[in-house]
């Protein structure tokens, strides 16, 4: 793994009216890193994602991706540069068959460039990708309307839509929310595998046990401010984090389970 810096966030801040949703956040990601972002509700985690992906314009600070300043660029430009995201509340095309949802990113400039101008067989690429996500190609699940699928499938479809872009950086905004234990157990290995293959990932999550199993590093936000960063164990030992996030008396999951 090369130690090249992929993403650099400097003094990033956003205020909505008088409220600082995110203030003065700095962090750096090297290629292949897996960063977890945690924090209580309203800590500014989703705003941070929106700031990096261009859905919200920062009030101050800089986002540098792959050596280029992408601060305030349009979401589709940033996506074409290789930043893909999922949404906390899945954003899908509910009237289309599930596999057709993936045709949209496959039509993007980025994928066209990566595939060397090969236009055809988008449907096949979509079905392959869905098969990897557990939509068995022999069943009729990939062909069902997205709106008729159960929640766990929708979350995986959202993940597949992000991956179809062949991103360099994947940002997962509470992918596991609303998923059953069994569904999480199905998706977690997929994400682990992607990361071992070298995909840089930021994962925002409330389910700490699962998060700590996969990430190398955790960043903690509270009221828009970064209050800690380090390995899961380091972060969980910090008194400030205990106070802000977990409450002092809560038993804390530690390290990667055997």
């Amino acid at each position: 793994m090369s130690a090249e810096t992929l993403l650099k966030v400097e003094g990033l801040g956003k205020s909505f009216g008088g409220v600082m949703a995110v203030s003065n956040v700095d962090f750096e990601l090297k290629r292949g890193d897996f960063l977890g972002v945690i924090g209580p509700n309203g800590a500014g985690k989703t705003t941070l994602v929106n700031l990096i992906t261009g859905f919200v314009k920062p009030s101050r600070g800089k986002v540098i991706f792959n050596g280029k300043d992408i601060t305030g660029r349009k979401p589709y430009d940033i996506a074409n540069m290789g930043v893909a995201r999922t949404f906390q509340m899945v954003r899908l095309f509910h009237n289309m068959p599930a596999y057709k949802n993936l045709i949209i990113p496959l039509c993007s400039q980025r994928v066209r460039k990566l595939r060397g101008g090969k236009y055809g067989e988008r449907d096949d690429v979509a079905i392959d990708l869905l098969d990897d996500m557990g939509f068995e190609r022999t069943s009729n699940v990939p062909y069902k309307t997205a709106g008729s699928l159960p929640h766990g499938y929708l979350k995986r479809l959202d993940l597949a839509r992000a991956l179809a872009l062949r991103p360099d950086l994947l940002i997962l905004d509470e992918l596991f929310s609303g998923m059953s234990m069994a569904e999480v157990a199905g998706v977690l290995p997929i994400i682990e595998k992607l990361n071992t293959q070298g995909l840089t990932t930021i994962m925002i999550e409330h389910r700490l046990r699962e998060l700590f199993r996969v990430v190398d590093r955790v960043m903690v936000l509270n009221f828009g401010v970064k209050i800690a960063e380090g390995s899961p164990d380091q972060v969980m030992d910090s008194d400030e984090v205990k106070k802000a996030y977990l409450g002092v008396d809560v038993e804390i999951p530690r390290g990667k389970p055997a």
Partner: protein, 338 residues
């Protein structure tokens, strides 16, 4: 003697023919071919052959229905990418005046004015509306509603393009058959052209924008440029209709910017069934002849027309086309079970 019992079961042709998706067909018999082709070929054949049997006034009605049909198809394309337009009269009027001006002042032949007005009208309207594609729903509709009024006022105030009198004495089509069949063939071509466009990957992206534009942006697609492209196509279709009507009546005046040209296509799409081009086309083929038939009612014409519209939308909210499609898909054959 005991009769051998013949077991039969009913089978929906639709189920047998469609394999998994809407676009893949499995055709096994001549009956299947007929089932697939009939709803596509028969209405088109009727439309193409009708002018041979009726003339004069009735063929004018067909021409008018095709013009409204083109506007309705143009409206439907914008609707399918989430742009709710009240400005079909803008596209129509720009095309009409462009063709008229080229004829009047530059003396260009018809085979130049119509194509140039089609593409030029499309480009001009796309350019005019490009800054407002960020607006959605009613806000976009409001802008499209205002622009035709603006154009009309400019022409009136400055007295350009014939001012309040309009451009008259323009070139007519060389013969009435070319006149009739140009619009009918254009209508059918645009109908099937847009249908295949919307089922292609390009059309899928447009429909996705209507569904969830943020998700489309996060998939690396510049939604604003896609919307402008859709505007260009839709405006070109309507501008063609405008350029055609200019040469058809040998006149271009304020009436092309009238609200009728925006409302009638919308009503046609609503009655025929929004969300499908065939619905918009069918709606205009029903509404235009209906409004002509009601002329006998005199003063009550509009009242009855509106009552029928309200009734149609209440009775069949899905639209006439969707209703017929559903009934057609329920068509069953009896087959023997061995």
């Amino acid at each position: 003697m005991q009769e051998a019992e013949v077991k039969v079961r009913k089978r929906r042709l639709e189920r047998a023919i469609k394999a998994r998706t809407d676009t893949v067909f499995v055709i096994a018999s001549p009956g299947d071919i007929l089932y697939v082709l009939a709803p596509r070929v028969v209405p088109m054949a009727i439309l193409l052959l009708l002018p041979l049997f009726v003339g004069g006034y009735h063929s004018k009605v067909i021409v008018h229905a095709c013009v409204v049909g083109l506007l309705a198809l143009s409206w439907e394309l914008l609707a399918s990418c989430g742009l709710f337009s009240l400005g079909q009269s803008l596209f129509f009027g720009v095309g009409a005046y462009m063709a008229g001006a080229m004829d009047k002042y530059l003396h260009l032949p018809i085979w130049v004015t119509i194509p140039v007005a089609t593409l030029g009208g499309g480009a001009l309207c796309a350019l005019l509306l490009a800054p407002v594609v960020r607006l959605r729903g009613v806000y976009f509709a409001m802008v499209t509603l205002m622009l035709p009024i603006l154009f009309k006022q400019i022409i009136e105030a400055w007295g350009i393009l014939g001012g309040t009198h309009g451009l008259s004495g323009l070139t007519a089509f060389p013969n009435e058959w070319l006149d009739k069949y140009l619009i009918i063939v254009a209508f059918i071509t645009v109908l099937f052209g847009l249908r295949s466009l919307i089922t292609s990957d390009y059309g899928l992206v447009l429909k996705a924008i209507a569904d969830d534009d943020r998700a489309v942006m996060s998939a690396g697609i510049n939604i604003y440029s896609r919307k402008v492209q859709a505007l260009f196509i839709a405006a070109s279709v309507a501008s063609f209709a405008g350029a055609f009507i200019t040469h058809h009546y040998q006149f271009a005046g304020f009436s092309v910017f009238a609200l009728d040209w925006a409302i009638l296509p919308l009503a046609a799409a609503a009655v025929g069934g929004t969300g499908s081009f065939a619905g918009a086309a069918l709606g205009s083929m029903i509404l235009v002849p209906l409004s002509e038939a009601l002329r006998a009612m005199g003063g009550l014409r509009m009242a009855i027309y509106c009552a029928i519209l309200v009734f149609a939308v209440l009775a069949l909210p899905e639209g006439i086309f969707r209703f017929l499609e559903r009934k057609y898909q329920e068509f069953e054959t009896v087959i023997e079970v061995k």
